[in-house]
Symmetry: C2
Subunit: 453 residues, 2 copies
């Protein structure tokens, strides 16, 4: 039986960061990985999706800037887009990611890790002992929706959509959350005919205007957007996949992508050993510990707090800090459902903290200020399309509690909002944080003016 | 004699905003302008310079993104760049700017405004009485350097450089501050042969690495950069302008741009009336008032506190707030020399608060953390070039006191740093402001890691 200070199960972003931080601090660490070091994010999610979207986004921007637009005579080079995507995901080989761990002295154990007792993880026939702690970072996988015949059609999930070697002539996407919306735009820009089938709204977790703007853009790009529809059955024949919708109509395409959410990979992790049923997300406290088990941490998607790579890494810092006697707890609002989040659609959607809906549910008395993302001098020459910036001020505490920005290239706008929210900077103080002229960050100045400070 | 609550002299960004805010609050306001409503910024500085730079910047970015790069077959369309610039500066006609004032009920008086007594401003033969206050917002103009024969060669200043109707085949630029550096890159990208003559460093007020990176890029772009040189004489003949340098060498070109600083437009403002000599910048207190004259405010470039449009607008809010009985004072570090500032060179330079040099002069005990702007997942697919992000932490107070970021499209990164500095958010708290993956804002995460929080 090999023995380590800490055994980490799962080498996605959370597991990697936790293992790395612990090893850097001098602990002996094993990380167990049954698939790829780097996890879903590096190979099948964040990275390839951005690789597919970025070229189209940039060409769209350049076409709006006279003087540069004239230099663009062609469209996207699909082979080059896919080729660059392949490079960025290391051609689905994780050997480029392993040195980050091994350079830090982490022992990589290939195989499926499973709790078999207190501080004991089995990998095949071998048992690894964890003298101090076990960290489970098992992640999530795509959830398959309840559609008759869905298994038989072998639908695409995020994995196939982000790694496809060719662009199908036509694609049906079920679900208009982050994956569905991003992939609809990626594939339509790469030349596919795309049908997007979704419930009431596009991007249902975000502010209404965000989903409305993305939906309008999808339509403009030629996507057949079918809202308020529920697929009831799917079948595949020689010509492709046919999906029957709730109203009895059908849509057909070469491929079907299901993007209706995630499900935790909690099965076969041995959670029963600590009396946790392997169903749904694993509950943890603010230190990322399973209540009652001071040696067992669960970080990343698997605890269901915030299904984002950056939050997995944050939780990795919390768990490893706790193990190293440098406690830090998840705190300051921009965590859980209010975590910072960027959706790389056109327009991009960047949000942190509350939406109007979640502020309402939380019983906050908020004042809402909307300004145009591009309605300033910075917007006049940059090449972006229209967008909206919404600020939610908690009127009882006079601090920001939520910001959503839509528009071209707004991803990097978010950090300012996150600092303001996490720092609980009073709005009268925030007013002295002057955005430079002529940047599009002047949306902050327009917020100050509109709010009357 | 016409009478108003407030008379504003100068309708640049500061004067416009002050007049607008006061009029919106119900006061009767006159604004006196002897040139163009909108000021230097709108016609001869911020706006046209960005119009000249943005197309080249965007083409450079797109050329780094495979899949999109292939669509670019041409270079900049110079006529289209200049045409778009002309649109953005309203073809040097300010009629597009006037309605912003008149819609708010501000009376626009065309002519040169001059103090002729307490609360009295003369415009030609007419005298305007200000019942409450006078705000001087006279701005600055380009300073001509002490070079023998400089007047006779009729050099370009920022005005000619930003509004030129054709691109000269060759251009000498003296001065490598913001104007000189930006215009060198704009003109070389538009096809001119550019020689940049400057003192010890490029961008001497910023962190060393910023100027070094911009200098390296200038050389790469084909600019003949001559540092450590002082021009001593200039003459023009039929073939163009020849400048003699301190080492006796000469450079010749079609045109000469002098970009060696600004000088306040304090002459002929009647400052003698209040006992202020019309030499240099006009000193004001934290309320933007001339000491001892509770009715007289000086805002914008003219007071020399921070020669930026955004700071002029900030000062306009302070002065108008004071007049309206809603006092707000300039505060919280990111003011004066530490004001937020963005230089739209390649790489861009965005800075707020202290540099290492200014922190040293201020006697602060700072810890310096440098990270790569693009050394994160966001940098891998975005198309940016290399850059550096420097964080200065005041070790006594454990707050950020300065941030400088260089790189492609980093202008919008600045606001997060400004909020952190103005909000004096402790770094241990700041650590919970998690940048989204995969954005380039993860440079914050690398700062946290490097700093050890």
């Amino acid at each position: 039986m090999q023995s380590f200070d800490v055994v980490v199960v799962g080498a996605g972003p959370g597991g990697e960061v936790a293992a790395g931080k612990l090893a850097e601090a001098g602990l002996s660490v094993a990380v167990v990985e049954g698939d790829k070091v780097g996890g879903e994010c590096s190979f099948y999610a964040c990275i390839p999706s951005k690789a597919l979207l970025r070229p189209g986004e940039l060409l769209e921007e350049v076409r709006h800037v006279p003087g540069a637009a004239e230099a663009v005579t062609g469209g996207l080079d699909v082979a080059a887009v896919l080729g660059r995507r392949d490079e960025l995901i290391g051609h689905l080989d994780d050997s480029g990611q392993v040195p980050w761990l091994t350079d830090r002295g982490v022992t990589l154990v290939r195989g499926w890790g499973r709790l078999v007792g207190e501080r004991q993880v089995a990998v095949g026939d071998e048992v690894l002992e964890a003298r101090r702690a076990v960290i489970l970072a098992g992640g999530t996988r795509a959830a398959l929706p309840d559609i008759e015949g869905i298994d038989a059609v072998a639908p695409w999930t995020n994995r196939e959509a982000t790694t496809a070697e060719r662009v199908p002539a036509s694609l049906i996407i079920v679900g208009a959350g982050v994956v569905g919306s991003e992939m609809a735009q990626a594939y339509v820009s790469l030349g596919a005919r795309v049908t997007l089938v979704a419930g009431r709204r596009v991007l249902p977790k975000e502010e209404d205007f965000a989903g409305e703007q993305v939906a309008a853009r999808l339509v403009e790009q030629g996507v057949d957007v079918r809202l308020g529809q529920r697929p009831t059955a799917a079948r595949r024949d020689a010509s492709g996949v046919t999906v029957t919708l709730g109203d009895g109509s059908t849509v057909s395409a070469d491929e079907l992508l299901v993007a209706t959410g995630r499900t935790p990979q909690a099965v076969d992790l041995g959670l029963e050993v600590v009396g946790v049923k392997p169903e749904g997300y694993v509950e943890v406290d603010a230190h990322m510990r399973v209540p009652g088990q001071d040696w067992l941490y669960v970080i990343g998607d698997l605890n269901g707090r915030a299904l984002f790579t950056h939050m997995a890494k944050y939780q990795a810092a919390i768990a490893s800090g706790e193990i190293l006697g440098r406690p830090m707890v998840a705190d300051h609002l921009a965590d859980g459902p209010g975590s910072p989040r960027v959706i790389f659609t056109s327009p991009q959607v960047a949000a942190v903290g509350h939406t109007m809906a979640s502020a309402g549910r939380a019983g906050l008395r908020v004042r809402v200020v909307d300004v145009g993302t591009e309605a300033n001098a910075g917007g006049s020459y940059s090449g972006g399309g229209a967008g909206t910036a919404r600020f939610l001020v908690d009127e009882d505490r006079q601090v920001l509690v939520g910001v959503t920005v839509t528009g071209t290239a707004v991803a990097e706008f978010l950090q300012a909002a996150t600092v303001a929210i996490v720092g609980e900077v009073p709005v009268t103080r925030l007013r002295h944080a002057i955005p430079s002229f002529p940047t599009r960050s002047e949306l902050w100045l327009y917020f100050f003016n509109e709010y009357g400070i």
